[in-house]
Symmetry: C2
Subunit: 357 residues, 2 copies
DNA sequence: TCTAAAAATGTTTGCGCACACACTATATTT
DNA sequence: AAATATAGTGTGTGCGCAAACATTTTTAGA
């Protein structure tokens, strides 16, 4: 009863009749240990519930760990800027544990830039890497190299096949599309008409991302018997805004469009602008993420729903897993899917004010 | 450039020409130090950016901290059960830091039980307390006593006035009510009729909680010009289910009720059962929290929305703050408001599968 | 059988800090 | 003037662990 004392390696050593060095070797599977000694120690370990003092562990090993964050340059894209919004908090959080977090940016639409930065990261020999895998082809080689080097790594935002990171952090994109369908269905009072998914300036590299969302979106309406809603896609490539404008306006005018699904976070603003410019009738719009512009559009009622992908929390969570892996050898979940957060005009504030990462 | 070495007390001592003991005394304002020595040390401290190693700090002081969790008994109410669902994870998380978490349960509707358990907690002399402040009158004395003793404490779920905990963790209940209004508005296709807020077996002690929600709910419809929706309250006290049944059925049949707002998490099931029993027309229902029953009702379409209060994350977050306060002297936010999470049939899965606390 | 190498085990140090303790110099009392 | 108190300062130990180091034991080779 009284002896609620914490069990130390020293205690285990005494109990099993060996020295602390041997216990250390058994616990960490390092160095040479005879079968006899190993069994003595393992017996004791099985009997008692030894949890190492993590403070002492980290302090004793006296190592500064470095985690590399490899992401598109935040100045080029508001979505990626969002992902780094609370990175400072992460840095502060892990600083007391001698955990350094280093960011490396590559250009979103420049494969060469990715290559350069990625191999620069490798030369730096970080202890762990978290990255958003854009550029499938190039990235694959890179991640295979990481794997060869035995550096633990985590992916977020987009899942890719062919490599197995410690963890993937993101959302179920198919479900996300379905949710978008259901939300449009909800604010559209009628049961017939057309809904459209807009693909605006999407780069090939992202395609997996959007294909999944579209599949979910279409399936929602396909599977709903009572609905006679037609689903169309509107695609604009490159930066040809003029053609997009006319395409969209045409489609809306000729198709009795009831709802628009915009799977890129930065697309909602463009769309809302056009609708307002041409004074088109009110259409239900579902977009993504709490970009500054999107927040305004939601407040003013120009768009109806945002689905929150929480990119900053994805990054923080990835760092959390890596730090725990490095410091405490904790296992990470292979797959961490974030909840699909529905943001409306009426819970927007609570999301903005909430500082939970 | 090269000397990115961490600065230790030892370094400060050398720089200011005194011993580590004196530096320690200056930093912690303890013991006797001559003005000359103090100034020498303070000069150096001002010049450099000293951040103590928190691991060493905690390890060196070698103290086991205990956090007391004071909550209603989970067997009596599914909501409170939910709040403890991930407590084990919290315990495991903090165990390595010599942080013990002890739970103390009181009976939800028994003031005497609260008193007894609360003072039992005090006798135990925990290093910190997190609790859900039910029983305003009794609780007030208790928390004043805690404050007198200088024990840091955190509140969650319900905010009360007159005491100032280290942090309050919960949601903006007024906004929550507004959100509920907007959700009912959303799935109700018409602009007129009646919506009702149901107060089912609510104990007096909770009243603040529900008053705020009702205020938000009513205000939503009051402030909306285009809406001619009438808002009524249906109240049932005690456990008089029969009277509730007739009251509810009457109200629905005679009032053209379009939507129901059920501010208690366990109330949705009762209501849905009655509606199904009397084969009443489809009514939009907004409830609270991911209770097992509510999940089923949402899946089957018997209720339309749940607002997630995330009680388990509230507790975990409170423990997180207290642990950081005790271990690292970190400041906690006075007020941590959780986002108002909207759960529908179509993002439910993503919430259930997500293991983020 | 002797010896060098390898295997197995034990011992010590240091991580950065808190805190108890020891010591010196000066002031105060007897 | 000696004894004692007091302000000020420095030193040493321990927290629990990792890792380098030191020592003993066993094995293999000639």
């Amino acid at each position: 009863m009284e002896k609620n004392k914490t069990i130390r390696i020293k205690d285990i050593a005494k109990l099993s009749g060996v020295s602390v060095g041997t216990v250390d070797r058994v616990i960490h599977k390092r160095g040479k240990v005879s079968d006899v000694a190993r069994k003595k120690v393992e017996k004791i370990l099985k009997e008692i519930d030894y949890t190492p003092n993590l403070l002492a562990k980290t302090l004793g090993s006296n190592k500064t760990n470095r985690i590399a964050v490899l992401v598109p340059h935040p100045d080029e894209d508001p979505y990626w800027k969002l992902s780094l919004d609370s990175l400072e908090a992460s840095k502060k959080e892990w600083q007391p544990y001698q955990m350094q977090i280093e960011t490396h940016f590559f250009k979103l639409n420049d494969e060469e830039s990715f290559k350069r930065v990625a191999y620069n990261v490798l030369e730096n020999k970080p202890d762990a890497i978290i990255s958003a895998p854009i550029f499938l082809n190039v990235a694959l080689d890179f991640f295979k190299e990481i794997q060869r080097l035995g550096i633990p790594y985590v992916h977020f935002n987009t899942m890719i096949n062919g490599i197995s990171p410690l963890a993937f952090i993101g959302q179920d994109l198919y479900q996300s599309g379905q949710l978008a369908g259901s939300l449009i269905d909800l604010c559209t009072k009628s049961n017939s008409g057309t809904v459209a998914i807009l693909h605006i300036s999407e780069k090939v590299q992202h395609s997996v991302h959007f294909i999944e969302k579209e599949r979910g979106f279409r399936d929602y309406f396909n599977k709903k018997q009572s609905s006679k809603m037609e689903v169309i896609s509107i695609i604009i490539e490159g930066d040809d805004m003029k053609s997009f404008e006319s395409k969209l306006v045409d489609a809306i005018k000729s198709n009795d469009i009831k709802g628009l699904f915009i799977p890129t976070s930065s697309g909602a603003k463009l769309t809302a602008n056009i609708i307002s410019k041409y004074k088109l009738p009110n259409i239900c719009i579902v977009g993504y993420d709490l970009l500054k512009e999107n927040i305004e559009l939601l407040k003013s009622g120009q768009i109806n729903f945002l689905i929150n992908q929480n990119p900053n929390r994805q990054v923080n969570r990835g760092i959390y897993h890596l730090a725990n892996h490095l410091l405490f050898k904790k296992e990470t979940p292979k797959l961490e899917l974030f909840p699909l957060e529905v943001i409306t005009k009426h819970n927007l504030d609570s999301y903005i004010k909430s500082n939970i990462h």
